[in-house]
């Protein structure tokens, strides 16, 4: 990153704070390191140990660099924090290369009480417009790597299933189990003479993502930002099930210029359901030979005391900077990106 870019980035960071402060959010700092972390099987937190200097013989306590501030943010909500946001460093081992990831990155995460994910969609529109004001001549226009993107709200909102139907003629609701989806997807691949195969796909989600990443995602948000919502419940994380149809969860992702920028949910506040998901995650981690983390009991107890509906959003700040500042790689918007060679 050059210093001209650094100046613009610093200004944009100020504007993020301006936006949330003026909307009466409280800015909070959450721990970078903790003894309990998100159990998501596909995340690989950096692992370290806490030592006791006064008692060198004491057992070392495993500690992890947080891959997300989510658990701590929710603990604060449980203590009646009200609406909160954080701008924090998060860490994910193994995730680098290709100009879209750095193992250490900046996350913007915010939570609203008495809100669902549709309110988060509006927040995204307003936040990006606020950041683009004074940065580009016309606050509703943005150029990224040759694409002119129109930011005028409202941004198109499209359900995941609708994307599959429109792009591939596959209705996920009619293909709910692995074997059915495999058959339908194979027919689609054959008919369209697709160059890729489903050979390595072992689960329903594998097929879902193989098609989504190859044929749908690269074209999202090239003219206007796009909000893709209602994801299959199999990819549920800490999201609440959809009110009308439990096949989906109330989750959305924002895409600008083919880039995924955030992941938002109507938050799950049912502690029993959350415990079940943690346990399933840990079982999967065990099968994958990954570290088993302790379940954060404080978090689960806290979850019970969140009585209002609540929505949260996690946004990759480096990627947003890359898009707003028209850079080809996130390495161009961070000082000292990781170098492995």
């Amino acid at each position: 990153m050059d210093f001209q870019t650094a100046k613009s980035r610093a200004l944009l960071t100020k504007k993020i704070r301006e936006f949330f402060d003026s909307n009466n959010f409280l800015e909070v700092e959450t721990p970078i390191m903790s003894s309990c972390v998100d159990t998501e099987p596909n995340l690989d937190p950096f692992e370290t140990f806490l030592i006791e200097k006064s008692n060198p013989k004491a057992a070392k306590i495993p500690m992890y660099l947080n891959p997300s501030p989510e658990i701590h943010m929710k603990k604060l909500l449980a203590q009646n924090s009200g609406d909160i946001y954080t701008l924090t460093k998060t860490f994910r081992n193994g995730e680098f290369g290709g100009g879209r990831h750095n193992p250490e990155f900046t996350m913007l995460e915010w939570y609203r009480l008495n809100a669902d994910y549709t309110k988060m969609m509006e927040d995204c529109e307003n936040l990006v417009l606020h950041m683009n004001t004074n940065l580009n001549k016309d606050p509703t226009k943005l150029t990224h790597q040759g694409h002119t993107i129109d930011l005028t709200p409202p941004w198109p909102r499209i359900e995941v299933n609708e994307l599959f139907i429109q792009n591939c003629g596959i209705d996920l609701l009619k293909n709910r189990d692995f074997t059915t989806l495999q058959k339908t997807a194979q027919t689609y691949l054959n008919d369209k003479k697709k160059p890729y195969t489903l050979n390595a796909c072992e689960t329903w989600d594998d097929i879902f993502y193989k098609i989504f990443l190859n044929d749908i995602e690269p074209n999202l948000g090239l003219e206007k930002p796009v909000i893709v919502y209602n994801y299959p419940a199999t990819q549920r994380a800490l999201a609440k099930k959809h009110e009308q149809n439990e096949f989906w969860v109330e989750r959305f992702e924002l895409y600008i210029a083919g880039q995924e920028l955030c992941n938002a949910f109507s938050e799950l506040t049912d502690a029993d359901e959350q415990r079940k998901r943690f346990e399933e995650d840990l079982l999967t981690r065990k099968e994958m030979g990954k570290t088993i983390f302790p379940i954060d009991e404080e978090f689960l107890t806290g979850l019970e005391s969140i009585t209002q509906p609540c929505a949260g959003n996690a946004l990759g700040v480096d990627r947003l900077m890359m898009i707003l500042l028209d850079k080809a790689s996130i390495d161009d918007v961070i000082f000292f990106p990781i170098q492995t060679t």
Binding site: E40, N42, R92, G94, E95, F96, G97, G98, G99, R100, H101, P195, Y196, N199, A200, C201, T203, D205, D206, F208, Y209, K210, F212, L213, N214, P218, T234, Q235, R236, A237, E253, N263
Partner: protein, 180 residues
């Protein structure tokens, strides 16, 4: 690395890790078809098996161009071979007699060449610059000895040796002054 994708041999020109949040990790790769030069993107699931292509890089030297195309010599065996203008593509803009480069072989057949990322060229034509402009960042056109036009800072003169990025065709730096 090169692999066989959809029946053709492709060079992996870049890879990008993709973690869709839930489930398996994926890798998005840019694949350059070594026959046509066409670049396609495809996303592979981590652990997906692919057929690795037998690709070799051999040092070679560019000799001359004739009806058969661009002629090269293998530096180890002194064997000569020709590549068509299609095989050479943009690289043809940077070839001068005696240029050392790498030839890419698939299944023991030469299919294309790879140049040094930056190479030195003599400027054969440049408009005289205007005095005092050297710090302004303005550019002008010049022609290098292979006939390629390159945008250079105003202080570059005919006869100067300049370094050019052979991937982008952009001016990199000045090597030395024209001897007067």
């Amino acid at each position: 690395m090169a692999l066989v994708f959809n029946g053709t041999t492709c060079l992996v020109t870049s890879t990008q890790f993709v973690n869709p949040g839930k489930g398996s990790a994926f890798t998005r790769a840019k694949l350059k078809n070594l026959r046509t030069g066409q670049v396609v993107e495809s996303t592979f699931k981590s652990g997906e098996s692919v057929e690795i292509a037998d690709v070799q890089n051999k040092k070679c030297q560019y000799l001359y161009k004739d009806g058969a195309g661009y002629n090269f010599m293998d530096n180890d065996t002194y064997e000569q071979f020709a590549l068509s203008a299609e095989d050479i593509a943009e690289n043809g803009n940077y070839l001068k007699d005696g240029t050392n480069c790498y030839a890419l072989y698939i299944d023991n057949n030469p299919v294309s060449i790879q140049l040094q990322p930056k190479m030195d060229f003599k400027v054969t034509f440049a408009d005289p610059g205007v005095k005092g402009d050297s710090a302004s960042g303005a550019n002008k056109d010049c022609e290098i000895e292979t006939g390629l036009k390159v945008k250079v800072p105003l202080f570059i003169k005919e006869g100067d040796i300049i370094k050019v990025n052979t991937e982008t065709g952009e001016y990199d730096s000045k090597v030395n002054e024209a001897s007067s």
